[in-house]
Every structure is written in structure tokens, then in C-alpha cells.
Symmetry: C2
Subunit: 365 residues, 2 copies
Amino acid sequence: MATHKLLLLPGDGIGPEVMAEVQRVIDWLNAQGIAKFETEQGLVGGSAYDAHKVSISEADMAKATAADAVIFGAVGGPKWDSVPYEVRPEAGLLRLRKDLGLFANLRPAVCYPALAEASSLKRDVVEGLDIMIVRELTGGVYFGEPKTITDLGNGQKRAVDTQVYDTYEIERIGRVAFDLARKRKNKVTSMEKRNVMKSGVLWNEVMTQVHAREYKDVTLEHQLADSGGMNLVKAPKQFDVIVTDNLFGDMLSDIAAMLTGSLGMLPSASLGEVDSKTRKRRSLFEPVHGSAPDIAGKGLANPIAMISSFGMALRYSFDMGDLADKVDAAIAAVLASGLRTADIKSEGTTPASTSQMGEAILKEL
Amino acid sequence: MATHKLLLLPGDGIGPEVMAEVQRVIDWLNAQGIAKFETEQGLVGGSAYDAHKVSISEADMAKATAADAVIFGAVGGPKWDSVPYEVRPEAGLLRLRKDLGLFANLRPAVCYPALAEASSLKRDVVEGLDIMIVRELTGGVYFGEPKTITDLGNGQKRAVDTQVYDTYEIERIGRVAFDLARKRKNKVTSMEKRNVMKSGVLWNEVMTQVHAREYKDVTLEHQLADSGGMNLVKAPKQFDVIVTDNLFGDMLSDIAAMLTGSLGMLPSASLGEVDSKTRKRRSLFEPVHGSAPDIAGKGLANPIAMISSFGMALRYSFDMGDLADKVDAAIAAVLASGLRTADIKSEGTTPASTSQMGEAILKEL
Ligand SMILES: CC(C)[C@H](C(=O)O)[C@@H](O)C(=O)O
Ligand SMILES: CC(C)[C@H](C(=O)O)[C@@H](O)C(=O)O
């Protein structure tokens, strides 16, 4: 059996608590001989800053580069609100994405039937919702240069951010979206602001070309990002796969996540290009939720998004789709049994702490 | 009585139909001697392109500059999808905003009690919602240079857009937001992505300074734009005034509008700086909805957003707050009577065409 090397980066806030539940799943898989994972731990975000005055150390970056997959918790919190911009907690995550070349961010927004009531939207609008948002993750305004604040004198400063996209960046994220659509409902909606942004014009043009050249069997639709956001709120079930740039993807995937009423349940995968020789790709898996410093250390956090992110690692990095299906089924079964962490509790359900929820999922497995 | 000069720019799609209803209100106010409006008409968007191959003619720009207020319908439609970028319908609107210096875009998101059921959100989440989104309108990625597509050879192109903000631009939009909050619930939420964008860092810093210097009596809160979007969907009533940049404002105001279930009802005002001598400011008023080409010319459009935008002109440009209140009350009364255009119809209400709705509001007045 092949040994898979994992780097666990719990990060800040509730990161360590929810990562502990993934660690238990890994230990159990190893003990049962179902898989062979070798894990290392590292620091990222505020915890790395506290230890080394950086958002991630060179040693941990080297571990991330050597790992077969990185499992990431969450970063940030008010404690680090005034650390210098270059070493703020988020910088560690952004460096991992950029240096590992993780250009494709997959964010499923699924409404668990047991949780439809937890959404602020009407049940019939979100029940059965199953969208995949494919967000470009290493380009756009996140990394474009210049990115500066200049003192102009007279008490005036000028801030500049730059959105840059090249044809190949749009092509490769397009292919990820079309490939995913083929295994789903065969529809891709591309979102940009071509009526205002040149990057939107190019985005639209390249998506249209990739579709015409390689994916005629998939339905391609274009929406402006602002009306796309509206449609997400109005009638989200019209979507299957949404493909969009880094910044619009940040906004739209958070909104899609909130629609489901299951923010504490949603995983994400960030993938690099497939190496033509080894057929491997770099990857990082993280929950969509943040570090929730207000509830950290109280056993209140929901570990499902984190465990489900590990499930995505099994599926997308280790070709263990069957095992991933079992993880998903275990989560669904525990929810169906009525167990709930505080964020998803409702009348008639059984309260569970972070570790009780992790324990129950492990038992199901 | 002072004469007020209005330029009416109906634009494309349903623009002319809904503008016709505003024209009736104006004619009536003139006939009754309640006010004295002098109106001119112009072309903008696709209709200007069809007539002059531009998105707005120099002659109409001159009329707009000379007018006391511009009343704008909507622009765009599939008919002009392939016209050159520089003369696309939206370019006319963007030029009006930029050349008239309309930096402050006010977008109220109000949930009419009679329409709470039309929202995709649960009634208790949106009932009574009353948010004011203050969007910066002449800066950011909409107008920053460079804004280019370059051919790199090898079939590769590079698209660049530039987000630029200077201190004074953030200060003046901040003041508009704080001033409005003082007349409302005294709370401003500023939204940006300071964890990723330098313009977000400067935005946050300047808002904090303006607040500390001039508006200590108002509550100021900061949210990241992605979690702000989430919170809008989860619990929108936590907000009073939201102030944000041009692109985030585009996205967030559309989402806020959709929450109310009343997209066809929401007006907007775009205001310039107050002239220190004349105490006047340039202004443009437009509905939040678009040109809806699919229903154009069928008498199906809801004229309320357009009439309500004219109401905002009365309030913000002509100091006729009492008359504006009467317009608002007339709209509310007609809705309470059960009259509905197709977009807001529900069981037990009376269907109305565009002109029947306009007529009914006029009768109420
Ligand atoms: C933490 C932050 C830098 C990050 C982003 O903006 O990409 C987060 O919001 C996300 O969506 O993963
Ligand atoms: C028509 C378009 C250019 C415009 C914008 O992006 O500002 C519209 O979406 C709006 O919100 O007024």
C-alpha cells in the first residue's frame, strides 16, 4: 500500500480543535490498515507569527512542498489585527496557494436536507441545492502588481491594486470547470463583469473559445457577476458549476455557502496542475468557514467542514473515491440521527460538542 | 417658484415605458402648479448607438451638464452585445457618472411589508428591512488606468484592470455615509478586503480617521466584504448604512436589492459634490433594475422604481422632502390596495400594467 504524506496546518482559532477530529480519522484509517498516511504538523497564520514572526516559516513551506496534500484549518483573529501587512495571518494562506500553484479552488455548496431549515432562505428555494463553485485562486487582484500605497504628500495617499489575467490562466480554470460539469449536470455558468472590466472581456472570450474547442457537449452560460449574485439569492438551483475569478469567487462562494445554512459543513479543495510525468498534483484542503475566534477552545466548533475537506483530499488527491463516499455517508448518517453542534442546532435535535461529533462520525465509519 | 431643469434619458428596453410614467407625474405637478419642471429628452445606451454610433452624444452630455438633475431609465440588451467595447450601452452610463462627478451612489434596500412574501428569504429575516447602501461611484476598478488587453503573441493575451483610490475619494464618500446615518439609525458598516487589497487597507484607515475626527457620535463597524455579503444574506437587519467601493458596491447592492423581493421597486440616487458657491450638486436618478429586454414593450414593467427614483430627485436635488414623502406614501398606498405588476404578483392581488400602475400612483397623489 502506498504511503501518503500529509502536512496538517491547524492554524488559529477553532482550527486546532477541528483538525484534532481529522487526526482521529487518520489514526483510525492507519490502525485499520485501510490506508497509510504519514502526517507532519506545521504552523500557519497568527500561531506562526507568535512563534516565528512570520505567517508561515520556510521550514513549513518546504514541508508543504514535499507533502502529497496539505490539510489546512483556519487563520486569523483580532489578536493579530495590527501586525504588519506582510506577516498578517492571511499572508500564510495566500503564499501557500501561490507558491504551490493551487489555481483551482473547488467549493461545493450543498444543502443537507436535515439542515434546510437552518438557511435564512425559504426551504423550497434551497432544499436539494448542489452547486460547485470553481474559483480561480492564484491570479487576479489577489496577486497582480503593482499593489501599493503611496504617500502623495498633503495628507493624501494613493492605494493601487491590479487585476491581471492571462489567456492560459483562464483556459486552465475553464477546463477544471467543464471537466467537473461532465460528472455533474453538465452545465457551466461563467461570471465576470465584461461590461466594466477588461479582464471580464478576456475571461468571457477565453471561456467561449475553450468551450467551442473542447467542451461542446457541456452547456455554457455567461452571467454578469452582479446579476449572477442576485440569481444566487433568488433561484440558486438554476446553477450547476459556476466558474469565476479570484475576487468574485471569494464573494460568490461565501454567499452560496450561506444560502445552504450549513457554513460549518462546507469543505473546499485547492488544486494545482497535474504533473505530466508523475500524474500527481499539489493540493490543499480547507473548510470554507473561518477561524471563529469568538468560540475557539470551547468545544463548540463544528468539525464537519474539516472532516469533509479531508474527504475531498481522499477523492481528489489519493483517488480513494469509495472511501470519500463513506466519509460523506457517515456525516449524513450522523446528521440524520439528530446530532448537532451549536451552529446547526434546532428543536428536537441532540446537542454535541466538537469531539462528540467527531467521535460519532468515526463510529459510523 | 424656481424652474428646475430635468434631462430625461429613458435608454433601452423597458426604460422608455417606465420613464413615460415619470413624465406623467411631472406633467401633473406642473399642471397643478405644485412645481415647475422644464424637461428635455436625450438618448443613451443602445438607442444612442443606433442613432449616432456612440453610447451618448456630445450634445446630450452638454444637456446633462446643464440640467439640475438627470433622470435615467436603463441601458443595454442582447441587440448590442457585439458592438465595440468603447461604445457599448453601459459606456454611456459610466461616462455620465464620471464626467458629472457623481461619486456618491445611494441605494436604499427597503422591504415593503406588502411584498415580504416575494423574497426568497424567510419573512422574519427581511420584514421591515431598511438598509442604505452608499457606493463609491467614480473611482476604483471602474475607472483606474491601465485598463487594457495586450496581445502577448503565442495565442496569449493579458488583461489588466486597475483599482485606484486616493484618500480624498474615501473621505468624501465616508462623509456622505456618516451624514446619512445621523438621519437614520446612526450606524455605518464599512466593507472592504483589507486582508488582500491595499485599497482595502487605505479604505479602512481613512474611514476610521474620518469617523474619529468628525463623526464620533455615529457607530462605525468594519466588515470584510466577503463576510459582509454573507451577513447580508444571513441577518440583513443588523445593518443601517453600508459604505463600500465601486465594485463591492455593485455586487452588494444588487444582493441587498434581491433580498427585499422588490427589485422592480428600488430607486437610486447618484450625487456629486456640493458646489461651495451655488450650494447645488450634480445628480442622476435611476432605478436599480436593468433594461429587462425580455419584457420590453409589453406593458409588463414595474414603473415604481423609476417613479421612486424621481422621488429621490425631489428629496436630494430640489429640497422637496415633503413632496417626496407624498410620492412614497402614494406608492405604499397603491401597493396596500393590492395592485401589482407581473413581477410582484401573488395570490389575491389585482394585476396591473405599467401604465395602470403609474395611473394609480398619480391618482393617489
Ligand atoms: C482569508 C482570506 C485571505 C481568504 C480569501 O480572501 O481568499 C478567504 O476569505 C477565503 O475565501 O479563502
Ligand atoms: C450597467 C453597469 C455598468 C452598472 C455597474 O456595473 O455599475 C450596473 O450594474 C449598476 O449597478 O449600476
